[in-house]
Symmetry: C2
Subunit: 344 residues, 2 copies
Amino acid sequence: MTEFDLIARYFTRPVAPGGWVRTGVGDDCALLDIGATTIAITTDMLIEGRHFFPGTDAAAIGHKALAVNLSDLAAAGATPRCFFLALGMPRADEQWLAGFSAGLFALADRYDCVLAGGDTTRTPTLLESAPAIADTHQGAAGAAGPLTISITALGEVPRAQVRGRDGAHVGDDVWVSGSLGGAALALAVAQGEAALAAAELRACRERLDRPLPRIELGIALRGLATAAIDVSDGLLGDLGHVLSRSGVGAIVDWPAVPRSAALRAQAEDVQQRCALAGGDDYELLFTASTGSRDAVLAAAQAAGVEVSRIGRIDAATGLRVCDAAGRPIALPFAAYDHFAGGVR
Amino acid sequence: MTEFDLIARYFTRPVAPGGWVRTGVGDDCALLDIGATTIAITTDMLIEGRHFFPGTDAAAIGHKALAVNLSDLAAAGATPRCFFLALGMPRADEQWLAGFSAGLFALADRYDCVLAGGDTTRTPTLLESAPAIADTHQGAAGAAGPLTISITALGEVPRAQVRGRDGAHVGDDVWVSGSLGGAALALAVAQGEAALAAAELRACRERLDRPLPRIELGIALRGLATAAIDVSDGLLGDLGHVLSRSGVGAIVDWPAVPRSAALRAQAEDVQQRCALAGGDDYELLFTASTGSRDAVLAAAQAAGVEVSRIGRIDAATGLRVCDAAGRPIALPFAAYDHFAGGVR
């Protein structure tokens, strides 16, 4: 069972009309109509050892925990307003908390996004099982569970310019911001599957540890992007969500997929795996009509971000990645999935 | 450093006027003014081994995870509207998921509270450290971290009837709903510090595992309660929050504190510890003017909940618990704290 099957089977129910919820489970953000205002809300949980290396700089963790949520707001074209933090920690380490909150608030302040509430709790050790719950209630010392950070972020979006994953039309261009694969390359180096010079590794680790949410671009694309998603699980998987929600297919032009110089120096299979299936880039992937090309480029320039046109939406369902000659490339992987038990 | 010191030191900043946030960090709910609507939002994280026993029935976990959030909405007098779920699981266990989602939705449906979005992730093992992050990204098998559930719930509250922890006035009565100490008594039995017959233990475990949020009472008390909080950390600690936020003191009449028959059969020190310092009851603790007594009783009757008048707000700061003769009782404990390293 994949993560998406799981959500579909156990947590997706029809949304009744007349309430606040306009779009619910299955998009980057839920959209709520509250009076005349439409708000976008998203929740992401980060767990040590799963989403970041144990020992990662506390400020980077604070940054990333908020960044991945703001990235979902960017996909929805929302202006960040406030967020809520639930924090499970093995212990109250003041040095760690000072770093974490500094990284968190530095990013929050950049977007005037206010911490409005939250919850803190101590994570138990795996050894604190049934009889030992008594001890946990008395604050037993000992090793403890992984750092767990859950953030819910709220933003505002003009009701007439709401977009989600379901608006891609046949003939639309497929665009992506920045470059892909840097975060996955940092992981590949950590796994011993690739090698990088120190400066290049630092740059890739920066992509992994301190991704920049594309808020300005998300806002600039209001009324232009027909569908949008952030690249968190990998280009193929995330584009696949857009395609299945929109009921269309796509052709991706592999040579046009933007990669950093460090990634372009790697073997072709590493490049493809990192740029197409590597998660954690937090770039914006979006579709727009061919008539909007100049407007998209102008919006991106105003937002200070490069964008690349990497393919087009097609009536034939499915996702084909093609080489320079237009021939389909066979790929042995798709997107990262938390529950698939391996790369699918 | 206590949990509250931690929040004050690292996560509390002045709320700038003009934004959505009316009341932020430090109350049960944050209050956001969005257009003409005021919404209450709360976040609570539950971790296996900390908030519930490993092996607890999945439906009970689903119930409780939402109940503790709805209980915060009840304190704010809000009508539940929707919620967001972040779920960290050691594996995708279909039987567990079926039970968890059934318990979750049964409570959600009772209050027309819609699951509007969320996030799922696999918790890593404690052994999945730095080099092994590679394995986790490939879905390595093995033992895994504790179940972690973080819910953010949203409700609506009439702007003119907003209440928080800071509205208690000198002379107000102190009230509490239902009975206190049942959940703590179930824990005391698990710790071998108390004994109960099977039927009584079942009832106390029900209080621990399936607390009922006092939504109807919270709504019925709109315009009546001057301050309110839910009893999650223990009566003394939670009343302490109201007193410090309101700048007042209180006298609590110990004989008037409502306890179940099972708790009344315990030794006096067990009764006091469970009813005054035991958490997890999720009753409403509130203050109201003496002129509102009849209205409070009528509201409680309409909501189908008993309420008890247990004390009064006093100008002298601090919290005094008195016996039947009005003499202060010396107590060796206060509230439960996640980070205090023991009962304070």
